[in-house]
Symmetry: D2
Subunit: 285 residues, 4 copies
């Protein structure tokens, strides 16, 4: 097992001394920085930074770090979050009937690609219970529809909270989530949309793509906000298509794109490589 690291994600108005103060904070407490990546947007005058250091030999106990760094951050008006690589996130996966993204997520998890626990799968259909069972993951069937939205989401939240879920992954979950649900898990719900957003929002994007005659199809993973398919984009992947491809072929090719876009987004999130800024992401990769 790797030795534990601490990670800070930081954004604030740009100005002198930001990198020096952050790096100085780590150094003053005898931390060894292993990665640091910083970007200042010269147009918006905004500062973004991700910094990761080894906890071994660090002079502060991890319970003291947030307090101490808060004093560094305050004068610069920093928005920041602190993470530890040995504290694993807890992922809840929401699915409907399509199983390819669920299999992909759970197999990658088992292969050690995701630094997380996956304690629970929730679905509006009972079909994928055996998949969850294969991996020993709890499965809950919570029917959901336009009419039962409020009660369904309440039940889902209860389940997610029981399992102390802090990241909700929509692995082709085919129901709309309300603003209430979304704001409860702000920047912690990741969806994959089966198109190259902003092209083909909404229903049946492969049919739309076939209709329009595009030569490339795509999939997009993004954080979910109240507006459908409008959230901050995390990752996009594409593949060429041709007139020989029927809608069925696009659906088949698209499954691989959906798996890839979702897996990369989840992985980036779990490694604390994503800053959400307005309706966009800064991805430190």
């Amino acid at each position: 097992m790797d030795d534990p690291h601490a990670i800070l994600l930081i954004t604030c108005p740009d100005g002198p001394g930001l990198v020096a103060n952050v790096a100085g904070f780590v150094y003053d407490h005898h931390g060894n920085i292993v990665h640091s990546d910083q970007h200042s947007d010269l147009d918006s005058r905004r500062f973004y930074m991700r910094i990761e250091w080894q906890l071994d030999g660090f002079a502060l106990d991890r319970s003291e770090i947030a307090g101490a760094f808060g004093e560094v951050a305050q004068p610069f008006d920093m928005a920041w979050s602190l993470h530890f690589t040995d504290e694993r996130s807890r992922m809840g996966v929401l699915v409907s009937r399509a199983d390819h993204c669920l299999w992909d997520v759970l197999l990658r998890h088992r292969a050690g690609e995701f630094h997380a626990e996956v304690p629970v799968v929730v679905s509006n259909h009972p079909d994928l219970e055996p998949v969850a069972a294969h991996f020993g993951v709890d499965f809950h069937h919570v029917p959901n529809s336009k009419d039962t939205r409020a009660a369904s989401e309440a039940a889902m939240v209860r389940i997610l909270e029981e399992h102390r879920v802090d990241l909700v992954v929509l692995a082709r979950y085919m129901q709309i989530l309300t603003g209430d649900f979304v704001s409860r898990y702000r920047n912690r719900v990741i969806n994959v949309h089966h198109s190259f957003l902003p092209a083909f929002v909404g229903a049946r994007p492969y049919h739309q793509a076939h209709q329009r005659g595009v030569k490339i199809i795509g999939a997009t993973s993004h954080y979910v906000i109240a507006d459908l398919d409008q959230g901050p984009i995390i990752e996009q992947v594409i593949r060429r298509t041709s007139h020989r491809d029927s809608v069925r072929d696009l659906v088949r090719k698209g499954r691989d794109l959906e798996k890839a876009a979702l897996a990369r987004a989840v992985s980036l999130h779990l490694q604390h490589r994503i800053l959400v800024v307005g309706n966009k992401t800064v991805v430190f990769d």
Copy 2:
């Protein structure tokens, strides 16, 4: 120089005997087929074919081929066009101020990539006259704007007709063409739009892309129809982008995409590899 070939592009309702009759026509007159590619869309019950054969030893004089093939085509209700590889298309290029696509088109032409003549460049600005001059190509400055549209297009058509242009290439021409102009050159006006259509139609697509925070940008070449950016897509190319890219970076990266998407579309058109079907293309590549 290669020996001349004949090419037929064909579409009609699907049914038995189509390939056999077309190939039989070539064979009966002692032609040697070098490429044939056929696709039947099982959903729309539509047949598409491109067939290319050597004229050397072919029993029909090239002036007789259309008449003879018309008899084959008629009972099947074929829409078809006949081309000869030693008859070069005549390309007119429309430009505004940006020079990268014009340089790219003219350099590729000189390198022998385009099987065509390029007799004329027309622009609504005088700036690019020296580029045309470098290649010995006629240059005409025809100011164009919303208010002068009809007169400007009349002047442009006159110039294009004088140069017997049969393919109009919009190499970043920043004026809208009217339905009149477009229908005169139906499926013979190729534009490049600097986005991954149907995302970001209209003005300033790189600004739109930056605003939306996409992780991939693209360019799309298409035949022009009266509806802006809605014509049949021929080719799309993409490149990854990140939060580090300003709009200016997207513009710079995008220039390469625009050149590639446009050049490939022009090349496919000149090789008679594109069938337009409704608002889509069948590309035999």
Copy 3:
């Protein structure tokens, strides 16, 4: 279920009348061609063709087709094979310890992507027995090493023959197959090598790639011949890498490439879209 089609894969010296005679054969017996794709290599004077037609309404019984077509083929010295889309190939999968390609193959199979049966998995390690069991596929553990090669392969052949396997898929099988084995399944053993061949043949290609500092890594699927990693290439896929990627990162990224390269090759083979010509492939896609 789709109606059954017949497929012919054909290669012979180029010359006039080939397409006409093949298409004429189908038409004369009232077949409806749904796809035909033909290419003549003008340098080698070689002809390649794939043709697919609906059996519904075809005048010949399927048992009569080979005999009848043989008479068409003979004067042109055609090498050809005949396939029917409702006759499913039988795939045997060889694996070692890595499970990602096996899961991928079996999940795609269950999703209906492969037109085949998968009756048996054979491995030189016992580890992946539960994966096969999950899909109800027979699993055989046949230890294999340099010293036991002959006996091991004899045992494997016995198992493959018992299950009437006609396509052997090496899903990261980490043993070398002898020329004897390979020639028994000529052009019917598909391997995936975890590099962009011909770069990094042999052992530990990700270590080699890391050592060389390449900016793109790849995976290659190919038919196996007696010479290691030298067989006809079917498909190659790639992904960008950077100095931030350790060998472990390359291995992780590479798993996705291996899955994709192998799955596409298997799918192309099962759809009878591959002609092997010398040490290269013609892929009708």
Copy 4:
């Protein structure tokens, strides 16, 4: 014009305090960091960093910076270089007969993509003199061959030195450079090889690729070392190919790859984004 920035490229053994000391150096003299990117290779225990800050308001005169930073660097055993964004590199371009890379480099230069002067083009053939002339760039014809190598290179060095060239770009220069020449311009000679290295080193890589039947071709830009095609790789780009592509088609497709791989490498070099480490590059992009 943008305000001037300073850039430090640094590598040294990894250890605590590196980022803090470097960022502290900038901060202590009132510099505002706009980009900083740092990576520690945990396997080799090596530290890499690129840091860029605004000179406006910086307390040190630029002539004092190197001396002052040297004191920071010394205890950490840093290898480092200092650059200023308003000091433009001077590029010399070496060419033979193929003109596409030369046009591409000079057009990009004129479009403002390269932060450099291009005072001179040298060629072992007279053919491309008019291209240089079009851009008002000095052109020198220096015949070169195996037998005249020493005298030719001496003449070339004289020309490059007269033009105070500090970056030599081989835009398809088809002669081998000696170790003497290369060591004089260590890590300052960029070549583009028309294959996906390490595949197909040496002569006629497109013929080799065609022979091997690869499904993807590529181009590679790299710093030149004495061993042919073995230098540190900077960038690689690829494109799909098929059995339909003759060697001539590969050559044509490859020209676009060569232009892209070379242009990106030159651009990265001129922005001081490349650290050479052993025989590999760290690219801060």
